[in-house]
């Protein structure tokens, strides 16, 4: 689906200093995969995400989406239709005064025939569990609901891939759960490829693969189990392993024998009380 080879993104800051936001990234994302990207502030996560739908273009190296090179200007609209983006602040992503009109904005804009728009909007709202709110005013919804409307707006464009850049940073616990569940179901039921950037390690547990970034590089990646049992390395990168992994690691350090791959509460409980 997405193939990134030796991708570099350099720019010059206001002091004339060269900043290497991405410094040689190699990453292949398969169709239907759910990839979480974690890393400290400034590690390059968001820069990388913006290459996936040609909002940014490589300084060197290549980024191809569904076989289309982002450097090729004529590919831009195809790529942006395939890859939709969701950002932190739901209020900045809503354009209309009625939920269904907001969701219809995208398809109208790309010239989807009128008779096809309504079914698309209905399908998109159903996919994010917001059908009951079609006639509501978006500004009166909760944060999680607004964010789901934003995702529905992308779904109405029938993308292959959705990139979410810290979609839960401004949400309450209920809203966070809603978004993770929605994303998971789009991935599993509709086969949408997901790239999910987050500072919440527990949310990254839902992914097939976790990519850990630092200073414009990928430091390591693997399944959530493979990544989150590396408690000390994560800490050095300014990140935090899930609580159960941290507790297990502390116990192991004081000489207690526990399996190495404990990352959930249940696994820890099972290991302590077999």
């Amino acid at each position: 689906m997405i193939s990134i080879k030796e991708l570099k993104h350099y720019y010059t800051d206001a002091d004339g200093k060269e900043v290497k936001a991405l410094d040689g990234i190699d990453l292949d994302i398969k169709k239907g995969e759910f990839v979480a990207i974690i890393g400290a502030n400034g590690s390059g996560k968001s820069t990388l995400a913006r290459h996936l739908n040609a909002l940014l273009l490589p300084t060197a190296g290549t980024c191809t989406v569904g076989g289309l090179d982002t450097m090729e200007e004529s590919n831009m609209w195809d790529i942006r239709q395939q890859v939709g983006m969701v950002f932190q602040n739901p209020d900045n992503q809503i354009v209309a005064a009625i939920v269904e009109e907001d969701v219809a904005f995208g398809p109208e804009n790309i010239g989807v025939p009128n008779e096809e728009i309504r079914p698309r909007v209905e399908r998109a709202l159903a996919a994010v569990g917001m059908s009951d709110y079609a006639k509501h005013a978006p500004h009166l919804l909760s944060g999680g609901q607004k964010q789901r409307v934003a995702i529905a707006g992308l779904m109405a464009l029938e993308p292959q891939c959705i990139v979410l850049d810290e979609p839960t940073a401004m949400l309450d616990p209920q809203g966070r759960k809603e978004i993770v569940a929605t994303v998971k179901s789009l991935n599993q039921d509709k086969g949408i490829t997901i790239v999910y950037i987050t500072h919440y390690m527990t949310e990254a547990l839902a992914a097939d693969r976790v990519v850990v970034m630092e200073k414009g590089h990928i430091r390591f990646m693997g399944t959530p189990k493979e990544v989150f049992c590396r408690v000390d390395e994560l800490e050095k990168l300014g990140l935090e392993a899930p609580l159960a992994a941290k507790v297990a690691s502390e116990l192991r350090k004081s000489g207690i024998k526990l399996p190495k791959d404990i990352i959930t509460d249940e696994e820890l409980a099972q290991a302590l009380c077999p």
């Binding site: 944060g143 401004m170 949400l171 507790v247 004081s254």
Partner: protein, 285 residues
């Protein structure tokens, strides 16, 4: 010394079809020196409530007083009272505007008419409080800093005003775990060393459990619970989930372990403490 809200009501867009009651008879006393966490789902009224604390919003009915002075007044006394409350809004880095870190932090003290020496002293103190080295950062453009550093500049700007009460609306939103911890370390130091009362609006149950002495839960413009975080989280789990809140992760883990028969003590909020407790009940040393 306290901020008092007495039977405060507030409604947005009164007299229009969009009328929405945001606060419904809220009474609350915030004592100087305490750490109060305010939790509630988006739209519950948290932000409306804290904007009453320094008169950004005036109650439709009811009264807000600081040390018995009604802050809705026009006089210099009311103004001085309002200035005792410093506000750090969500994403405070978006409110940075000056060309250098120094000028941004100095804006408040200068505005208050302090002398240049006094301003300089406040800026230096505020920067050292939030862990920004003066020599390194004072002349830098704040827009060249990382997200966590910009947030510290914004907090320093409020600290330089020397408030008795510091209100922080989701100070850790969008920060990575290390920056989150760093910001809280500074907030706790402010509380400890200057005795500043902290009002913390947060979506993180973990932060509320770990840092606050007292917690209030807001729902539909009313105070649903007011008490010690440990008591509320342990005794009202289902009600919290019903209003969109949750248990802190460490409580969840403790509950799971207890369900398996490990007699983990209630109310643990620290990883180290939990590890010790597990070792104790398992008879490991």
């Amino acid at each position: 010394m306290s901020i008092k809200l007495a039977n405060v009501f507030y409604t947005y867009m009164t007299g229009t079809p969009f009328e929405r009651q945001a606060l419904n008879d809220v009474s609350l006393t915030i004592a100087k020196g305490e750490i109060l966490a305010i939790i509630g789902h988006t739209g519950s009224g948290k932000s409306t409530l804290v904007q009453h604390l320094n008169g950004l919003i005036k109650p439709l009915r009811g009264k807000v007083t600081i040390n018995d002075i009604d802050i809705a007044g026009r006089g210099s006394e009311a103004k001085a009272a309002r200035q005792q409350v410093g506000m750090v809004f969500q994403y405070p880095e978006h409110q940075i505007f000056a060309e250098t870190v120094y000028d941004d932090i100095a804006f408040g003290p200068r505005n208050r008419g302090f002398s240049a020496e006094e301003v300089d002293k406040q800026v230096r103190e505020a920067m050292s409080f939030v862990g920004l080295d003066f020599e390194t950062f004072a002349e830098r453009s704040p827009f060249q800093l990382s997200g966590g550093q910009m947030r510290r500049v914004a907090i320093a700007g409020v600290v330089a005003m020397n408030p008795d009460y510091l209100v922080l609306d989701e100070p850790s939103a969008g920060l990575d775990p290390r920056s989150r911890n760093a910001v809280f370390k500074e907030i706790m130091a402010l509380h400890k060393e200057r005795g500043i009362a902290i009002v913390l609006v947060t979506h993180s149950m973990e932060e509320a459990a770990k840092y606050a002495h007292r917690m209030i839960v807001i729902n539909k413009g009313k105070i649903l619970f007011d008490g010690k975080p440990a008591d509320i989280f342990s005794n009202h789990k289902d009600e919290l989930i019903a209003v969109g809140m949750d248990e802190p992760p460490i409580y969840k883990l403790s509950v799971t372990l207890r369900a398996k028969g490990l007699e983990i003590a209630a109310g643990i909020t620290d990883v180290g403490e939990l590890v010790k407790n597990i070792k104790k009940v398992k008879g490991w040393r």
